[in-house]
């Protein structure tokens, strides 16, 4: 993990890049020129107070709330004008803040829906079960009957059952018990070791600093800081000024 934290960001190319992205929701102007990059095979953490625009950024990348202006590049392809279906098929997999579990479907059906051919690659499935053993146990249960942590595991499993270019995860630790958060951290570490590119919104700084290689901090719909996570973790003053001030403003 230390090696991952010390990975030199400049040595990697960018898988996803946002440039001056503006997003409106109805009459409200939410994103005011968001620009940041997501290096390939790294975990990028998007941090910031509530209402800073993190979820809007994720939804804009997915095409759920289209960008009003600006560019979103996946590798070298501009995706800001594509619809959600095409973006998803380009390899952008998304775990939304509310997890988006189909409560009336079984765990197996939820995961099967995300497979390309309506059947499982057994090796991949075994790997997913290794990450989230609880899912194997409740494989034929209605997903609506799972606990909050298990639903989060299911949402992530659904997003990784097929290989993807990038995984967008919105606040995976939200509302979960510390023990569940630990098991999620373990799973994300394993995903990270498998060179999965991840963009994660997270409020839990311990989780963010443990997993992240790269960090972008948002406030009021703008990116106010971007660096590698190791240097940000080392700079307590910056943490206090960016996250501390944000917290005070929020409170």
């Amino acid at each position: 993990m230390t090696a991952n934290l010390q990975r030199n960001v400049s040595e990697t190319d960018d898988l996803l890049r946002l440039t001056d992205v503006h997003t409106h929701i109805g009459q409200y102007h939410i994103l005011h020129g968001v620009s940041f990059r997501v290096p390939r095979n790294q975990v990028t953490m998007l941090l910031g107070r509530n209402g800073a625009g993190k979820t809007t950024t994720m939804r804009t990348i997915m095409g759920l709330w289209p960008a009003h202006s600006g560019q979103v590049h996946l590798k070298d392809r501009a995706i800001e004008t594509l619809d959600t279906m095409t973006i998803a098929r380009s390899g952008v997999h998304y775990v939304p803040e509310n997890m988006g579990i189909f409560a009336g479907l079984t765990v197996e059906e939820n995961v099967r829906l995300a497979t390309r051919q309506n059947r499982f690659n057994q090796d991949r499935l075994t790997w997913v079960f290794g990450l989230f053993p609880a899912l194997e146990k409740f494989w034929h249960w209605p997903a609506g009957q799972l606990s909050g942590g298990q639903k989060q595991m299911l949402a992530i499993a659904r997003a990784i059952i097929e290989p993807c270019e990038i995984l967008l995860v919105d606040e995976p630790s939200k509302g979960l018990a510390p023990s569940i958060i630990e098991s999620l951290i373990r799973a994300f570490r394993e995903l990270k070791d498998a060179d999965t590119t991840i963009l994660m919104v997270e409020q839990n700084f311990r989780m963010a600093s443990t997993l992240g290689d790269h960090v972008a901090i948002m406030d009021d719909g703008c990116i106010v800081h971007e660096s590698d996570m190791a240097s940000f973790v080392a700079d307590k003053d910056k943490q206090a000024s960016l996250l501390g001030l944000s917290m005070e403003a929020h409170q």
């Binding site: 939304p96 997890m99 479907l105 829906l113 053993p133 018990a177």
Partner: protein
């Protein structure tokens, strides 16, 4: 002793949910307590039992039960499309009744093309004609509904008020089209000989066409259930009814799915129109409009978007209408409304509620 009873009550009322990471609370009765379909099925059986108690003559009860089930099956066929369209597309299609009427007239025309087969054909020939009429209605109404979706519905997604106004207008236009194509007069549509009359089994009399309607309804329900539970399309529809956005995020073309479901739902309405037309033996351009109130009631009682709920609600409405019509004729018209109010007080989202975007 008190502690033991309290422990027992606690165990019996505990929900069978997974608790922590991979543990689960064991609850032997949880399935029966929590499964809305099972509960509603038991309620349907209770309906039939209450009818049996209140109707003194078992032969009359059997006749009414078969009539109720037949009516229920036809209502199910007509309502299943409406409830799916609302559940998946969030579209309130007040023009659904026009598809029922169109289906009835198309079926009438298809059967009218083979007068000699109707007059001299065997039972199986008549069955073949009946199925052909239903298929014809499904195809024509399906094509009409495709045009209806492209021209009208697609412009009012997400706006319920506009949907109500524009689909009501669409229904009026469709009824006028029926007048233009088939004339203003109501049409008598007599059943083929094989479907006429009844047969006796012991003390019980069974009307042939009603039994046929029950069988057709069961076949269609099993077919729909199979599609929903055994095909990727069914899985997608069930998922789409719950959360369209996530279906899109998984890389599926939700717009194509919308159109497909709209066409299939309307085709089912057309098939229901054929079944109802032959049941009533008279068809008018208003046949669908007249049935729409009952269609709404069935969809709401069943839970919008739920096929199982729609099936059970349709059977309940069919049984109740027939039982009450026999026991308290003056209450027959309001009985279904009373049932709807009672069900909504018990289950505000209907008998078998569909979770909408909650996780």
């Amino acid at each position: 002793m008190t502690t033991q009873i309290q422990t027992l009550i606690k165990q019996l009322t505990k929900r069978g949910e997974p608790m922590a990471d991979n543990s689960v609370s064991v609850q032997p009765l949880s399935h029966w307590h929590q499964n809305a379909t099972v509960q509603s099925g038991l309620l349907l059986v209770a309906f039939a039992f209450i009818g049996f108690v209140l109707i003194p003559d078992p032969a009359a009860w059997m006749t009414l039960t078969i009539a109720g089930l037949a009516m229920g099956m036809m209502l199910f066929v007509m309502t299943s499309g409406f409830t799916l369209v609302f559940g998946l597309m969030d579209v309130l299609n007040f023009g659904h009744g026009a598809f029922i009427s169109f289906g009835a007239f198309v079926g009438f025309s298809v059967m009218a093309m083979f007068p000699e087969l109707i007059a001299a054909g065997s039972f199986w020939t008549h069955i073949g004609l009946f199925v052909l009429a239903m298929m014809g209605a499904a195809v024509v109404v399906g094509l009409l509904s495709w045009a209806f979706e492209r021209l009208i519905i697609r412009h009012v997604y997400g706006n319920h008020l506009m949907q109500i106004l524009i689909t009501t207008g669409g229904m009026i236009v469709a009824e006028e089209m029926i007048y233009v194509l088939w004339g203003h007069e109501e049409r008598a549509w007599l059943k083929p000989d094989s479907f006429q009359g009844s047969f006796q089994f012991g003390d019980f009399v069974f009307e042939k066409y009603r039994l046929l309607a029950v069988i057709m309804g069961v076949v269609l329900f099993i077919l729909l259930r199979w599609v929903f539970t055994h095909t990727r399309l069914g899985l997608l529809i069930r998922a789409g009814v719950e959360n369209r956005e996530i279906v899109k995020s998984l890389g599926f073309n939700i717009e194509k799915l919308f159109i497909l479901v709209f066409i299939a739902g309307s085709a089912l309405a057309g098939m229901g129109g054929v079944m109802w037309g032959l049941y009533d033996e008279v068809i008018t351009a208003h046949i669908g409009q007249n049935l729409m109130i009952t269609v709404f009631i069935v969809a709401i009682i069943g839970g919008l978007g739920s096929i199982e709920g729609c099936f059970l609600a349709a059977l309940m409405v069919g049984l109740l209408t027939n039982y009450v019509g026999f026991i308290f004729p003056k209450l027959a018209l309001v009985s279904t409304l009373i049932l709807m109010v009672a069900v909504l007080l018990w289950r505000p989202k209907g008998l078998v509620p569909v979770s909408k975007g909650d996780s």
